[in-house]
């Protein structure tokens, strides 16, 4: 059995985060809405309608290209892709073909060991989405289909990679990195469940160590990163088996069936559509003004890889903390907006990745919607670091802040959670505790440090839990030495 290398190129469709559609003013919030409640003559392909390009969509598409290091074409052309299908209102999709608006970019992917590798991007183009066919109403199966045009005309970018991916893990890493970048740049929500991100994979095999590409299959219907990985592994095994038995892989389009965990042939090369692409005469060539392109490039924010490096360098955070804080842009933004000092950054990062993240997950709400301001969290961490409150008290205050949005300093007073750090008072409590627990006091004086626990407990009881624990520990040691 020969050993093979997998060669993969991915085509990713990402929905641009605009409020309105690509060529009309219908809203793009149709996910889950009543079918055909977000439509107009333009996006249902009525006779006589004309497209007008959404400027915001172009801005976001160009920003995606800038974030992915692509070259931006000064002139690009919209083309019609002609085919018949009931979800395609004009019987052509407005896309870009010969002159896309951007080409030749790339991104870095990392494996589990932290090695980075570049995957090149072949091209990015803009296009409109189609509608959706419904084959059932609720549980009732229909013997005809219904069409919902809410999605029709939604702006997309199609991002086509070069065949630089060599394993299903690399494909997964590429998709993760791409999603992060698009989300960071504010280009797309990339929510796969809402259809904001979709992926097709071209996969072929070649004997390990050879250059020439094998015949590829295109895999469609990959609705999660996990399924991309599974489908690629399945295809690897399928194609390897064909090659091992002396057969030839057929160029075709295959559909991934997640339930069966297998791909199945959809159509062969011979049955492939002839899309008869030609420049759309209803739209002028898109001229990207140089000054506008510069403004769009300047609008690209700090991207995850840069941010991870900065968090390590500027705040001394561990790779793990930097990773968690950059997994979603908003979490890292929250950290940075809290304006941490280098000394307290580690505590703040811990608090965010444990307490805050935990609460966000359990309540399932986005960080933008919580009542706590980043600077308030910073001040809470400051109260802990300076010993004004205990870490237990901090948790209590945090959950109160979550409910009320009140300032932590205010809550310290309100909840009476300020620690007592007055050495004289604490010493008095210690004497009282030692006197009340002669056995423990004797053990301690005899060098049995484990006996300190009951004295600490007694002090805490006397202080109603408000004695500063670090101070109590130190002063007990001093008291028994004296």
């Amino acid at each position: 059995m020969a050993s093979y290398e997998m060669v993969v190129g991915l085509e990713v469709h990402a929905q641009l985060a605009t409020e309105s559609k690509l060529f009309c003013s219908c809203p793009t919030d149709g996910f889950g809405a009543t079918p055909n409640s977000r439509i107009c003559p333009v996006c249902t392909g009525q006779p006589g309608v004309l497209p007008v390009l959404n400027r915001r969509a172009a801005e976001l598409a160009f920003r995606a290209a800038a974030a992915l290091g692509c070259r931006i074409a000064p002139v690009s052309i919209f083309a019609r892709k002609n085919y018949f299908y009931p979800d395609l209102p004009k019987a052509y999709q407005i896309s870009q073909y010969e002159l896309p608006f951007s080409e030749h970019g790339g991104l870095e992917i990392r494996d589990k060991e932290g090695h980075t590798q570049r995957v090149r991007i072949h091209r990015i183009h803009m296009e409109e989405d189609a509608g959706k066919l419904l084959h059932a109403v609720g549980a009732e199966k229909l013997d005809y289909s219904l069409v919902d045009f809410n999605r029709a005309g939604t702006p997309l970018v199609e991002i086509v990679s070069e065949p630089d991916i060599r394993s299903s893990d690399e494909a997964y890493a590429y998709l993760t990195a791409l999603k992060e970048i698009l989300q960071y740049a504010g280009v797309s929500g990339c929510n796969m469940e809402k259809g904001e991100m979709r992926c097709d994979a071209n996969v072929s095999l070649r004997p390990a160590g050879t250059e020439k590409f094998g015949t590829r299959a295109e895999i469609k219907n990959l609705n999660s990163f996990h399924n991309v990985k599974l489908a690629l592994d399945y295809e690897f095994a399928r194609q390897a088996e064909i090659l091992d038995s002396g057969g030839r892989v057929v160029q075709e389009t295959r559909l991934w069936d997640a339930e069966r965990g297998a791909t199945a042939s959809m159509r062969s090369k011979e049955e492939a559509h002839d899309y008869r692409y030609f420049p759309d005469p209803d739209l002028l060539p898109l001229h990207a003004d140089a000054a506008w392109v510069e403004r769009v490039k300047a609008s690209v924010p700090e991207l995850p890889a840069q941010r991870r490096a900065r968090l390590a360098a500027e705040f001394g955070l561990s790779d793990y903390d930097a990773e968690v804080l950059t997994a979603e842009r908003a979490l890292g933004d929250f950290f940075l907006e809290a304006n941490p000092e280098r000394g307290s950054a580690k505590t703040l990062a811990n608090f965010i990745t444990t307490e805050l993240q935990g609460k966000l997950n359990s309540e399932n709400i986005p960080i933008e919607e919580i009542p706590i301001k980043p600077l308030q969290l910073c001040s809470l961490v400051g109260l802990t670091n300076t010993g004004i409150i205990s870490s237990k008290g901090a948790k209590e205050i945090f959950s109160e802040m979550w409910k009320t949005g009140k300032d932590p300093k205010e809550l310290v007073q309100e909840l009476g959670l300020a620690q007592v750090s007055d050495e004289g008072q604490i010493k008095a409590w210690i004497q009282e505790a030692l006197a009340a627990n002669p056995k423990a006091a004797e053990d301690l004086r005899g060098g049995k440090e484990r006996a300190a626990g009951s004295i600490v407990g007694a002090v805490m009881k006397l202080s109603k839990g408000k004695a500063n624990p670090a101070l109590v520990n130190r002063l007990i040691k001093e008291a028994v030495k004296a």
Binding site: P41, T44, G45, Q46, P47, G48, V49, L50, P51, V52, L53, R80, N82, F84, P86, P89, K90, A91, Y92, V147, D274, R276, Y277, F278, P281, D282, L283, L284
Partner: protein
């Protein structure tokens, strides 16, 4: 007095001045349609009730003392490939029979604002594909000058309506001559404005890069008045030009042509042109010279490729534009279809006529993989050469004079068996569409058998005002008889 036969300008003046009411105007024109259209069949739909309601609204507006629009009370006949909200729009095709327009075309909205009255929807060659209106899926329209003859096409219904006195103003659309050629054959004025001067929104597309809406009228001044209303930038049509100034359409007719440089393209006086047409056009040229214009021969060498170029580009665009008529969302759906393929095949098979099918097939072929470069891409390159011919010519002359059509109106059935001979009807008009120029046809005489002949005047892009002023001056020198 009757308002039949009055110009649009005179009707608007009469309504706003109180000489007659808009309702009177509408009633008289509707009565004439009722009386005479049975023998002509210019209209697919007569909008009797709507027209009267619109007219009464104009009268009410006047009564309230409000300012009236530039076309107040003017009956307008609208080619049935232009959408009027709430009105059936068929393109004279079975596939759209029963389709009610969900919105107003931009030109319709502008006419409404100018207080015009929509009197009916006119017949055309199905989807504007043809030069005789014989390709209408519904019925043929007769030429009011000789009912055995075609009115030309594809805007045959609109040209016939104006010639027959059913309306002083009609809208047509011109992709390869579909306004100018029927205007010439019916003795009317037909203007194809510069591409981009008039919004195409709401015009059912045939070939998007060539289509242009324009007026058919009895006078050049009315064509100018109409253009000043329907022209202008539409932000919802990406190909509509912000450059065009609709107000400039209203240049006064010059008293003389001294200083005007007129080119006579030698390629437009070819063999096969009807001798009576050539004679009338030569006489028209002499009128320009008499008024002081300096004429010279110019050459548009690539014009000989115009028809071949057009019959690759226009069908290619049409094959894509007409794909939306698929029986899914609106229009005809074959009743018996059991599968998706059958819905497509039967709906389109039954819904489209032979000429439309021919062009869809031509265009599908020209765009298909392996043939695209040899046909569509090459045609686009030739189109550029044709455009450059005009640019060169307009560097040395202001206007070009040519015949509009190689022959006067022909008999029904004379050219239907041979599509190529029908295509040649547009040999002189197609180049202007390919180049995007402004062009007009004005009547310049009658044949011995009494059929109108059209003179085509061509101007550079966005010189529509100059073109219309020259046409008006010519019209003043060579008054043209009217049908009663």
């Amino acid at each position: 007095m009757t308002t039949i036969g009055l110009s649009a300008a005179d009707i608007a003046a009469g309504v706003s001045g109180g000489a007659f009411s808009a309702e009177d105007v509408a009633r008289e024109h509707l009565a004439r349609i009722k009386e005479k259209d049975a023998g002509i069949r210019a209209f697919v739909t007569v909008l009797e009730e709507q027209a009267l309601a619109q007219a009464r609204a104009v009268d009410a507006k006047k009564k309230r003392g409000e300012k009236l629009g530039a076309l107040c009370g003017v009956p307008v006949a609208v080619k049935d490939n232009i959408l009027i909200e709430g009105v059936e729009t068929t393109c004279s095709s079975k596939i759209l029979k029963g389709y009610v327009a969900p919105y107003d075309a931009d030109v319709i909205a502008r006419l409404r604002k100018a207080d015009a009255v929509f009197i009916g929807k006119t017949n055309l060659d199905e989807f504007a594909m043809g030069s005789s209106t014989e390709n209408s899926a519904f019925f043929k329209t007769a030429n009011p000058w000789n009912k055995d003859c075609v009115p030309g096409g594809s805007s045959g219904g609109s040209a016939a309506a104006v010639a027959a006195g059913f309306a002083p103003l009609a809208l047509g659309s011109d992709t390869g001559g579909s306004i100018r050629q029927p205007a010439a054959l019916c003795g009317a004025v037909g203007l194809k404005p510069t591409y981009g001067a008039v919004s195409r929104r709401g015009l059912i597309a045939f070939a998007s890069s060539l289509d242009q809406i324009g007026p058919i009228t009895r006078t050049a001044a009315d064509a100018a008045l109409a253009l000043s209303v329907i022209g202008g930038h539409d932000p919802l049509d990406s190909t509509s030009s912000p450059e065009f100034d609709a107000g400039k359409a209203l240049e006064p007719a010059p008293k003389s042509f001294v200083g005007l440089r007129v080119g006579i393209p030698k390629e437009y006086f070819i063999k096969g042109i009807d001798p009576e047409v050539e004679k009338a056009v030569r006489e028209a040229i002499a009128v320009f010279e008499k008024l002081g214009a300096k004429t010279s021969e110019v050459s548009l060498p690539h014009s000989q490729y115009a028809i071949s170029t057009y019959y690759l580009i226009a069908p290619s665009e049409a094959s894509s534009n007409l794909a939306r008529f698929d029986g899914i969302r609106y229009g005809r759906r074959a009743a018996e279809a059991a599968t998706l393929e059958e819905v497509y095949e039967r709906s389109r098979g039954e819904g489209f006529g032979p000429e439309v099918k021919r062009r869809i097939m031509l265009g599908t072929y020209a765009l298909s993989s392996g043939y695209y470069d040899a046909y569509y891409a090459k045609a686009q390159r030739v189109r550029t050469l044709i455009k450059q011919d005009f640019e060169k010519a307009f560097a040395s002359v202001d206007l070009l004079l040519t015949p509009t059509a190689p022959s006067p109106a022909f008999k029904f059935g004379e050219k239907t068996k041979d599509p190529l001979s029908m295509y040649l009807s547009d040999v002189f008009t197609i180049p202007s569409n390919l180049a995007g120029n402004a062009s007009i046809s004005v009547p310049c005489g009658l044949t011995r058998s009494g059929l109108p002949i059209g003179l085509q005047i061509i101007a550079d892009q966005f010189q529509d005002g100059r073109l219309l002023a020259a046409a008006a001056a010519f019209e003043r020198e060579r008054p043209f008889p009217r049908l009663s």
